[in-house]
């Protein structure tokens, strides 16, 4: 009857979002008066899950799962859920999690709520709050099935430490050939670059930067802060920056701690996608730009003057606070 949480790993390592999912699962388990069982696939650091309230880890070590495969991963998680008789299955909301979760929900005949931001407000009926209308509203959703799948948003519930001794058991799901009919041929992933999904800080540039040749300023600031770089939609449409950097309603969502918008006007579609960020800073030479209404801190000024100065000051600050 435990709460099951799927813990994503990359190259054997867990990410912050994985520990957030574990923390959330512990919160739900406390409400239900039960414990948390985690399932991880080819991960190294299973014991660390105890720091976030996990009592038992089902450790799947299987070379067939070395490459991500949504169908096979969902199958493994579903089997773990059935073994554990889990009524609540918690998963994060990374690109892979969002790929797995709907398949898993069908496997378990479970109602699925995605983008959940808080612990259930009630467990009978089972009610969770999720974002809707691309962060312009919340929806309180009832899940009526016996088994429930909850996708918990990044940077919403956050990390909650909870020292628990985690026992680790090997778990060998039965995988069918039918699980492997979509094949990964190649993966193209920039190394040593902070991704928008993982970043604590995102520095984003808009059309106000005038051209791709001026992105050095954005990259310098991002590098100083250990941040990911992003851009507004027209910037990617014009080919100044790759599509993968386009954030907003029709691009990637951003839920970072700090979002710095430079030369971005703050159109409703842009704001919708980045609004889940905790603190927003805008740098824009037009005091009437709508972004000032959405931001926490603002500088009215020319990006070409402000950015180099700001980067210099931040370098000093970093050096003094290292």
């Amino acid at each position: 009857m435990s709460v099951l949480v799927y813990i994503e790993s990359e190259n054997g390592k867990f990410k912050k979002a994985s520990y957030e999912a574990a923390s959330y699962a512990k919160g739900v388990a406390d409400q239900l008066g039960t414990t948390v069982t985690a399932i991880s696939i080819n991960a190294n650091d299973n014991a660390s899950l105890g720091n976030y309230g996990v009592s038992k880890v089902l450790n799947v070590a299987n070379d067939k799962l070395a490459k991500f495969n949504a169908e096979a991963y969902a199958d493994a998680i579903a089997q773990a859920a059935k073994n554990e008789d889990a009524k609540v299955v918690v998963i994060g909301q990374t690109a892979n999690d969002k790929y797995i979760a709907p398949i898993l929900a069908v496997d378990l005949e479970a109602g699925y709520a995605s983008n959940v931001v808080e612990l259930p407000s009630s467990t009978a009926p089972f009610q969770v709050k999720r974002t809707a209308f691309t962060n312009k509203a919340f929806n309180v959703t009832n899940i009526s099935t016996d088994v429930k799948v909850i996708g918990v948003s990044k940077n919403a519930y956050g990390l909650v430490e909870n020292n628990t001794e985690a026992s680790i058991e090997d778990f060998a799901p039965t995988l069918a050939d039918g699980d492997f009919t979509v094949n990964v041929e190649s993966v193209d992933k920039a190394k040593d670059k902070v991704t928008i999904a993982d970043a604590e800080i995102v520095v984003s540039g808009g059309r106000g930067l005038k051209g791709p040749e001026n992105w050095g300023m954005i990259e310098d600031l991002a590098e100083t802060l250990g941040a990911a770089t992003a851009c507004s939609k027209p910037v990617s449409d014009m080919g100044w920056r790759p599509h993968s950097e386009h954030v907003g309603q029709t691009g990637k969502p951003v839920a970072s701690n700090l979002y710095i918008a430079v030369g971005i006007s703050g159109a409703i579609q842009h704001l919708a996608g980045i609004n889940a960020s905790k603190t927003k800073v805008v740098i824009n030479n037009d005091p009437e730009a709508p972004f000032f209404k959405a931001a926490d801190y603002g500088i009215v000024g020319d990006a070409f003057e402000v950015l180099p100065k700001l980067t210099e000051k931040l370098k000093e600050f970093k050096a003094n606070n290292a």
């Binding site: 949504a70 496997d107 809707a132 962060n135 509203a137 193209d188 800080i201 905790k278 926490d296 801190y297």
Partner: protein, 248 residues
């Protein structure tokens, strides 16, 4: 190749989001509805398959009669037939089950849906539909080629891309990248005229069960005013970010 494109009928991205009936219903007053942007990229890619590979393209929506103008727009863009499953869309699971039935009955080789609709952002219909159908599935799909019964797709992952191969039947959750923004078509007069004559078949639902229901909506708490910092006093900004917001 028979293609089915799933069309979600959603408020235009500039819509004011308000609720009525004690915050239980979305207020459609003054709201313009459009083809969900993620689905429009998929529909446009389907038109490419139609032109270059002789594919047939049908579009489908699960919803009431009010969604028909959105289906007509898809016909005006160039789809051959439209299907409306005549029932209110209650949750992702119910919609996925209704769509899977249409896909199965029509023997489609390729089902193109959007990675998420911009109203409820469930992000679950394509994956559930694929699993119900026993079809292959690629989510967050940004490129799709089909050769015979083999598909090659590129999927966006966190921080990069992954190239995948799978045989048909295939379901994708699509988004921008399937085609470029500049490839999107605004229906011309001829398309609109022709769309009026194209079949829009209303089919009765299988009465699939929903597993979740909406209790109510809430709006985010109003935000405080922005704190403006002079560009000559950047130390103050750093101080605020460090000591007040605690983000650096």
């Amino acid at each position: 190749m028979k293609i089915l494109v799933c069309i979600s009928h959603v408020p235009d991205t500039t819509s004011k989001i308000n609720f009525t009936d004690g915050d239980t219903k979305f207020d459609t007053n003054g709201v313009q509805f459009v083809i969900n942007p993620n689905d429009e990229f998929g529909l446009t890619r389907a038109m490419w398959f139609k032109e270059k590979q002789g594919a047939s393209v049908d579009v489908v929506n699960v919803g009431g009669a009010e969604t028909e103008p959105t289906l007509r727009k898809a016909l005006a863009i160039g789809a051959d037939n439209a299907i409306r499953v005549n029932t209110e869309a209650k949750d992702g699971f119910q919609v996925a089950k209704e769509l899977a039935k249409v896909a199965k009955d029509g023997n489609y080789d390729l089902v193109i849906a959007g990675r998420e609709s911009i109203d409820y952002n469930g992000g679950m219909v394509p994956g559930m539909m694929a699993k119900i159908l026993g079809a292959n599935f690629v989510n967050t799909c940004v490129s799709l080629e089909v050769d015979g019964d083999k598909a090659t797709a590129i999927r966006e992952i966190d921080g990069g891309k992954e190239t995948l191969t799978a045989s048909l039947p295939l379901v994708i959750g699509g988004q921008k990248g399937l085609v470029e923004e500049s490839d999107l078509k605004i229906p011309n007069m001829r398309g609109i005229m022709m769309a009026r004559k194209k079949p829009l078949n209303v089919v009765e639902p299988s009465n699939a069960e929903a597993f979740t229901s909406s209790e109510k909506f809430e709006k985010p708490a109003p935000k405080g005013d922005v704190k403006l910092v002079s560009e000559d006093n950047l130390d103050e900004l750093i101080n605020l970010l460090h000591n007040e917001a605690k983000v650096i």
